[in-house]
């Protein structure tokens, strides 16, 4: 159109602008008011919510793992220690691709298949920002190599920690046991709060049974962290309370001597103070080094231990089953006297063969072909005369027999403060019916009287039984924990003992007769272990046991050849001093010529060590 026809009206334009400027300004004020309202909404209405979110951003709570309680023997010799080591830990949240990271990392620090599996399993039980251990016990070389490459692995760190070490790992493997990494089952069982940050838990032995005392209570620290979760400063800290130190009843000197005396032969030994049930030594041979297990045993070592023919992982003292053989005779004798079947001075004629009245087909034999002649209880024990006990058991009958022998603790766990104890077998009608659903035959009662047949005892059960004899019929609970020290600055507090049940011996004369028989075993020329107490400062009372591992009719009896060593399980039980026993010892060997020949010398070695150190004051000494 014609542009010139329209003349610009400056006055109108200016007025128009003014209205528009005012409208614009109002628009702006409205918009910024809306923005201000939004600020009000965030900063006032929702302030509490954002304030706490801001705090949870910056404050993070770290658990401080308590240091595990130490374990000492009765004299303060260290058995389980905490030593400083380094491990790799990973915060999964800060790792991009976990698999790729682990691949790259294993080129720097060797990671076993085991490590990775364990890590992945453990990771699933933790929150993504929790640090999860990946590789334990790094060598200095590995730490150095990782430090150089650290920048490539965000979320991975070398962290110092305390690891368990066992200065006497081999000698105490079956008593102290060991700790190992928490596995998935344990992780779900353990209290997550108490075990946050803890990597190890007691797996066997004292470490397992006193886990609660040893573990302690974790502390915590409130720290301010930045967006990378790096700690800026500490806000509040509550120190952890370390686990209690435990003092065991074991005397490590006896323990070492006992271990050495076996010279590698498979078997077990138990030494108990009959006055209070304190276990002074408990050895199972062969043993293994518990230190291997602490930071994850490798597969080869483990399968070697697991598949070894002599089963080093088996705690023979606690779970090894042995035929008691003649070692059962003092108990059968004492039970028979108490039941009034014989008087101590009654004699029985041993002709070399015993028949159940009315049954002349089956002969039960004595050790000596032509018999021992006429013997009373004392001589029957001293010479281990089978005939005497065949008759006694037969007259007692299996029902009274099993009730009477149960009083010595046979057929039931002793209740020692270790897990994995087996109860053995005390022959009884009920047992046989339960096990085989068969009736009991009198012949079985006869051989039960000399510790053959269905019998199975553990060395610890036998140790408990001989302690009951030594304490004149009073049973004290066998135990391993002597005192507990809570905190470094306190004295170890002795663990109170339960009051023992009333004695099982009603007539002291019966006990004296049995004791005399056991003294004669060691101290008369006709005793089966004659000479084993020579030169010992106290009178020893004992009993041998030589049980046939196989029936003479078995093919195995002939197949294993002529060496008598292979044929017998040999045992020896004893206590000393005979009139006021302070130590009772049981030794079991899985193979040997006889109890006197092979087991008794081990018992003597333990007794010698005991006599040597016995004058040492008995107070618990702290380190």
């Amino acid at each position: 159109m014609n542009k010139r026809a329209r003349i610009k009206d400056a006055r109108h334009e200016s007025a128009l602008f003014r209205t528009r400027a005012i409208a614009g300004f109002l628009l702006i004020v409205a918009c910024l008011s809306l923005l201000g309202a939004r600020f009000f909404y965030l900063q006032v209405t929702r302030h509490d919510e954002f304030s706490s979110r801001s705090d949870s951003n910056r404050i993070s709570i770290r658990r401080i793992v308590p240091s595990r309680g130490l374990i000492f023997d009765r004299n303060g010799v260290l058995l389980a220690d905490n030593t400083a080591a380094f491990r790799l830990e990973v915060v999964p949240e800060q790792v991009g691709r976990m698999d790729a990271m682990l691949d790259a990392l294993s080129a720097v620090v060797p990671l076993s298949e085991d490590d990775i599996q364990r890590f992945n399993a453990l990771r699933r039980t933790k929150r993504p920002f929790d640090s999860v251990p990946l590789r334990l016990k790094l060598s200095e070389d590995e730490i150095a190599r990782f430090s150089v490459e650290r920048w490539r692995f965000p979320g991975v760190d070398v962290v110092p920690y305390l690891t368990r070490s066992y200065p006497l790992g081999e000698e105490f493997a079956h008593v102290v046991g060991y700790v190992g990494r928490i596995d998935v089952n344990e992780a779900s069982r353990l209290d997550a709060d108490l075990y946050a940050g803890t990597t190890h838990v007691g797996k066997t032995g004292i470490e397992r049974s006193y886990e609660a005392q040893l573990h302690g209570k974790p502390g915590y620290e409130q720290v301010e962290v930045n967006a990378d979760k790096r700690v800026q400063r500490s806000i509040k800290r509550e120190a952890p309370s370390p686990g209690s130190n435990l003092y065991l009843t074991i005397d490590s000197r006896l323990q070492k001597v006992a271990e050495a005396a076996f010279a590698g032969r498979a078997g077990a030994a138990v030494a108990i103070d009959p006055r209070n049930g304190e276990v002074l030594a408990m050895v199972s041979v062969p043993s293994y080094d518990t230190n291997l297990f602490v930071n994850g045993i490798n597969q080869i070592d483990y399968s070697t231990l697991l598949n070894a023919e002599d089963r080093p992982l088996l705690n023979r003292a606690l779970a090894g089953g042995y035929l008691p053989g003649s070692t059962i005779k003092p108990y059968v004798g004492l039970a028979g006297l108490e039941l009034g079947i014989r008087k101590p001075e009654d004699t029985v004629l041993s002709t070399g063969e015993f028949f159940i009245p009315g049954d002349t087909k089956r002969a039960y034999r004595d050790d000596q072909r032509w018999g021992h002649g006429r013997v009373d209880l004392r001589e029957a024990i001293a010479q281990s005369v089978n005939t005497y006990f065949y008759g006694m058991a037969l007259e007692m009958g299996i029902d009274r027999f099993s009730v009477a022998l149960a009083k010595f603790g046979f057929g039931a766990p002793t209740g020692i403060d270790l897990l994995g104890e087996s109860s053995g077998v005390l022959p009884s009608r009920e047992w046989k019916r339960g096990r085989f659903n068969q009736a009991w035959y009198p012949g079985e009662t006869v051989i039960a009287g000399i510790g053959q047949g269905a019998w199975v005892v553990t060395p610890l059960q036998l140790g408990q039984a001989v302690s009951i004899i030594a304490a004149r019929g009073v049973r004290h609970q066998p135990h391993l924990l002597r005192a507990v020290q809570e905190g470094i600055n306190t004295d170890p507090q002795p663990v109170p003992l339960p009051t023992p049940a009333p004695g099982i011996v009603h007539n002291p004369a019966n006990w004296t007769a049995v004791e005399q028989g056991m003294i004669n075993v060691v101290n008369t020329p006709s005793g089966t272990a004659h000479g084993m107490g020579d030169g010992f400062p106290y009178v020893i009372a004992g009993k041998t046991g030589t049980a046939e591992r196989f029936s003479r009719t078995d093919e195995e009896w002939t197949s294993i050849g002529s060496s008598p060593i292979q044929r017998h399980q040999v045992l020896f039980e004893c206590f000393a001093p005979a009139d006021d026993a302070r130590i009772a010892v049981v030794v079991a060997l899985e193979a040997g010529r006889s109890g006197a020949h092979d087991a008794a010398p081990i018992a003597r070695a333990i007794l010698d060590a005991w006599a040597r150190y016995d004058d040492v004051p008995r107070e618990v000494t702290s380190r």
Binding site: L16, F17, F25, L35, R38, L42, S51
Partner: protein, 377 residues
């Protein structure tokens, strides 16, 4: 030979000029004061947000000085001169944008021209030349504008905006478009035409989706639901809201904001510096700061109303209103009211070019002010 009289005369002349400048300064003192106050707040906030990094604060201070000098220089140029140069300046800046677009082929975000001495962002120049061009175009025509004029303006505004959006720099493109649109609005575009344009824009908005970058779509989705990916794309918004919200009425105090000091808040010296300010000064501080911004915008519009001609009026008005867009978009972003768009908080966010171009814009306002009508109507 220079005799004593000549020297004396020269001195007298200088003194005379100085006195005149003081009596009738070429600058609007209230606006200058507000800007100085804003710059001071900006440096103090930056000092805290950078965790007491003097180097950054000095850098930013130097940029303010550079911008201030530029402002004083531009203030001396009469608007008529600016108006005569406008088409040339506009075309030059469009050319530079195209150079950047060509040089930036195959790279990521490419916005800079490396001038060896300093890096120069042509899009910052457009922030000034585009409203100038719009004002220049409207100045010569009958107001309010009609469809034909609007079509021409759409081309003038759209061409540089598209080039900038392709860089990609959505924030700057938005500011550039806003400054052009404000010029048209202030020119008195009929309200019904505005209504039609807004309706058309709203219905065309979904069409933009296929042309958006992946990160832009993410930002939009995160704006709608930040908690859906709190550690990834939603992190910025959530941490920013936490920073703002935890500030409360009076804030945590200067340099006490944990969200920024412990680096939970990303980009806490640049785009998210407003969140740091809100965390440390609380609602009271925020409202005072917003009041300061409103004052500056209002003063700018007042200067525009008193301007000598249409060109000056529209230019001053659109520069002032564009200034508001910075505040609104940045404040909306850090409070989760608007999607994340990289727009700095004027004179407070760390970063050189925007401070310099803003102060240059205020130079234009100062010039318009000092060449205003001498007699009020």
């Amino acid at each position: 030979m220079i005799d004593a009289a000549t020297i004396e005369r020269t001195f007298f002349d200088l003194r005379h000029r100085l006195l005149r400048a003081l009596q009738r300064p070429a600058l609007d003192l209230p606006l200058l004061g507000a800007l100085l106050l804003l710059a001071t707040i900006g440096l103090a906030t930056l000092y805290s947000a950078s965790n007491l990094d003097r180097h950054m604060v000095i850098n930013q201070g130097l940029r303010f000085v550079l911008g201030g000098v530029l402002m004083l220089l531009i203030a001396r140029v009469p608007p008529t001169v600016l108006r005569n140069w406008t088409p040339w300046l506009y075309m030059a800046s469009l050319l530079l944008l195209m150079v950047v677009a060509v040089l930036g082929q195959g790279r990521g975000a490419h916005r800079w021209l490396d001038l060896k001495i300093m890096r120069f962002q042509p899009s910052e120049l457009v922030k000034l030349t585009l409203p100038m061009m719009a004002a220049w175009y409207l100045h010569a025509r009958e107001l309010p504008p009609r469809w034909t004029a609007l079509a021409a303006l759409a081309l003038l505004i759209g061409a540089p905006a598209l080039l900038i959006a392709r860089q990609p720099d959505l924030g700057t493109a938005l500011l550039v478009v806003a400054s052009g649109v404000f010029a048209v609005f202030l020119a008195g575009l009929a309200w019904w035409r505005i209504g039609v344009a807004l309706a058309a824009l709203a219905s065309a908005a979904p069409l933009a989706w296929p042309f958006m970058h992946e990160y832009q779509r993410n930002r939009l989705l995160m704006f709608l639901n930040p908690e859906s990916d709190p550690l990834g794309n939603g992190w910025h918004i959530i941490q920013s809201e936490i920073a703002v919200g935890s500030g409360g009425w009076l804030g945590k105090g200067w340099h006490q904001g944990t969200q920024s000091q412990l680096e939970f808040l990303p980009e806490h010296t640049t785009d998210f510096i407003f969140a740091v300010f809100s965390e440390e000064w609380g609602l009271v501080g925020v409202l005072l700061l917003l009041a300061l911004y409103i004052f500056i915008v209002g003063r700018g519009l007042w200067i525009a109303s008193n301007a000598r001609d249409t060109y000056s009026r529209l230019l001053a008005g659109s520069i002032s209103m564009a200034f508001f867009v910075y505040v609104m978009v940045n404040g909306g972003m850090i409070t989760g009211l608007l999607p994340v768009v990289g727009v700095p908080l004027p004179l407070i966010s760390y970063g050189g070019t925007s401070a310099v171009s803003l102060l240059a814009g205020f130079g234009v306002l100062m010039s318009i002010h000092s060449h205003r009508r001498l007699l009020p109507r």
